[in-house]
Amino acid sequence: MTLELKHVGKTLDGDVHIHPTDLVLEPGRFNILLGTTLAGKTTLMQLMAGLEKPTSGEIWFNGRNVTGERVQKRNVSMVYQQFINYPNMSVFENIASPLRVARMAEADIRKRVEEMAGLMKISAMLDRRPSELSGGQQQRTAMARALVKDSDLILLDEPLANLDFKLREELRDEMPRIIAERNCVVVYATTEPSEALLLGGHTAALYEGRVVDYGPTSEIYCQPADLTSAKVFSEPPINIAGVRKSGDQIVLNENVSWPASSALADGEYTIGIRPHHVSPVRTHESDVGITGTVHVAELSGSESMIHFDAYGDSWVSLSHGVHPFDTGEETTLFVDVSNCFYFDPAGRLVSSSDSAGVN
């Protein structure tokens, strides 16, 4: 069972909403669409569901062309950011509603709903109305309704975005377990890189209607195809600076340089360094110190996020522990250059920590 997008694109009134996209989505894992608001995640999902018709390309499901087939004929479930339930039905009836449409026998319905409610931990609330539930429980109900029928395709559009921080953590933790046993294609849209990493599976990084990178989530994170993909997949934003490679040195400016790998040709590069590879304390022998002015230091009790300006660029450092700094303070922070991405002038990744062999 696979969902295949073959050169699927969507243009409306001359605006390109989705650039022609090729994707193969497999069952049994999360297929994550990662991107900021308006990157095209929802539109792409609507195309997959058949709520929108592509203006180019074809959508194949299980070796069958389903382009233009009506949503009602396809076996699709969707969960939205807002908690959408039938307000005048009990939680039980809410979850049972897709099964009633399918005219399932009453005994089977009861069994399925109770099983699903158990999995979503809402068994005790089956007789209540959605309005009597907390936000987390309402979203669990909506998810139970989406999962109770054996859909071929389940689309989750930022399902945790409207939940309290801790509830989000809890549901995110349970979700892989809930999905694991199903034989269906699961698509999950999110704006948060950390959420994508925790859910695992495969990730498609979206930027302005274009899939800029696609592959196993951890691979995309460790080896982003290009600068855009690295930017999409970094929270807080990845640090970017221009460097020049000449001879055996990478030169940031006249004061800061470090040994280069021989694999890299001479020339101009853009480097990308994730905030947690910039630290107020030296962590590796090979770390390179950069001196700048602290803009703001945000201390969360266990971590310190230091925003500073150095050599005309804004930098962010995220480190364990409490490292207080005053605004305007001059300081040196240490960059772990062994964990640095090098992008060529066109933005393509040419070398990263693993292949550069800097240390």
Binding site: T37, G135, K166, G200, L299, G301
Partner: protein, 359 residues
């Protein structure tokens, strides 16, 4: 600007509260210094909005007093208290320009146009609104509107405190980071007393010098972000702050020492005076390590967050999480884990034992 004192504060929405559950806000005594940044943190329904409304004057508490410096303002209406507030959903005067919005609080107070102009331009510069002064406020994006709300507070020179009620709720995720930083930066610049209400630990901990953690109408701990992280006074604080939260494990007390999973566990506090209450030990995932000797544990699952791995283990019939650094070795299924004795504490009925002594 003023020091804010909440003395013997209690509130119930019912006319005759009888039992504990009738109180939306239980006993509260706090003193907030002039010019500080404070946060009220807790899950939905914990009473933080009730407390905020009492401070702003929208609600008169059933008990106790609110003091600004030394004057009692308990019975004063919001407009008489000289406070500013930024709401969850942006409030702007749609028909006015950005300039007129910022000028509105001053004009209402009969400030001369010359002075209005100076202040408005100054505040617009601080909030990055200068380029939009002539635009109509209704055309701005959500973050722009929130900046206007904030600007209307900053523009006044007589403000005692600025209150924020989950101000980032409707902001796009990728802009939250920027607006959060802006707030922090502004606090440094204007040195107003700021009180920030949220359910998001990251927002609270990075913004505030001191955080008030609330749960079911009760203040569970007041402290710096570091104190809340390092020495949680209640298992709720341990769970609510930190991601993942503190491991809370049931334990037996024998001869004043904690025993978990059949072994004695060294702790930072002792168990004197437990008196048959429910006892637990609390240890943060950051302070659990793999070790040659210790408690038998089984690795269940590893989630990669990019910066570190969250390792879920099964130990003594309980789930114990560990945080393991990027690239560190993770043992195969059966292993031993150890708790850092300095950071492992005994809790009775949820509260930290010997709390007064240790803090």
């Amino acid at each position: 600007m003023a020091r804010i004192t909440l003395s013997d504060l209690k509130h119930s929405y019912m006319p005759n509260p009888t039992n504990d559950a009738d109180w939306a806000l239980k006993q509260l005594d706090v003193e907030w210094d002039d010019g500080g940044a404070y946060a009220l943190l807790g899950p939905s329904g914990c009473g933080k909005t009730t407390l905020l409304n009492i401070i702003s004057g929208l609600l008169i508490p059933s008990h106790g007093r609110v003091l600004f410096d030394d004057s009692d303002v308990t019975a004063l209406a919001p407009e008489e208290r000289k406070i500013a507030q930024v709401f969850q959903f942006p409030v702007v005067y749609d028909t006015m320009t950005v300039y007129d919005n910022l000028a509105f609080p001053l004009r209402n107070r009969g400030v001369t146009e010359d002075l209005v102009d100076v202040r408005v331009r100054e505040v617009a510069e601080m909030t990055d609104l200068t380029a939009m002064l002539k635009n109509r406020a209704s055309g701005l994006t959500a973050d722009g509107k929130q900046k206007i709300s904030l600007g209307r507070g900053l523009v006044r020179t007589d403000v005692n405190a600025i209150l924020f009620d989950e101000p980032l709720t409707v902001i796009d995720p990728h802009l939250k980071f920027q607006l959060r930083l802006k707030l922090k930066e502004l606090h440094h610049r204007v040195n107003n007393t700021m009180i920030y209400v949220t359910h998001d630990q990251t927002e609270a901990l990075t913004f505030a010098d001191k955080v008030v953690v609330m749960n079911v109408g009760e203040v569970v701990q007041i402290g710096t972000p570091e104190e809340l992280f390092e020495v949680p006074h209640h298992t709720f604080v341990g769970h609510f702050i930190g991601s993942p939260g503190m491991n809370v494990l049931p334990c037996d007390i024998d001869n004043g020492a904690a025993h978990f999973a059949g072994q004695r566990v060294e702790t930072a506090n002792d168990a004197d005076g437990v008196n048959g209450r429910k006892t637990e030990i609390g240890v943060r995932p950051e302070y659990v390590t793999f070790s040659d000797q210790g408690l038998d544990a089984q690795v269940i699952r590893v989630s990669d967050t990019g910066r570190f791995n969250v390792v879920e283990t099964q130990c003594g019939g309980n789930r114990v999480n560990l945080l393991v650094g990027e690239g560190a070795e993770i043992p195969s299924e059966t292993t031993k884990i150890a708790f850092n004795p300095e950071r492992t504490r005994i809790y009775a009925d949820g509260w930290l034992m010997g709390r007064e002594a240790s803090s």
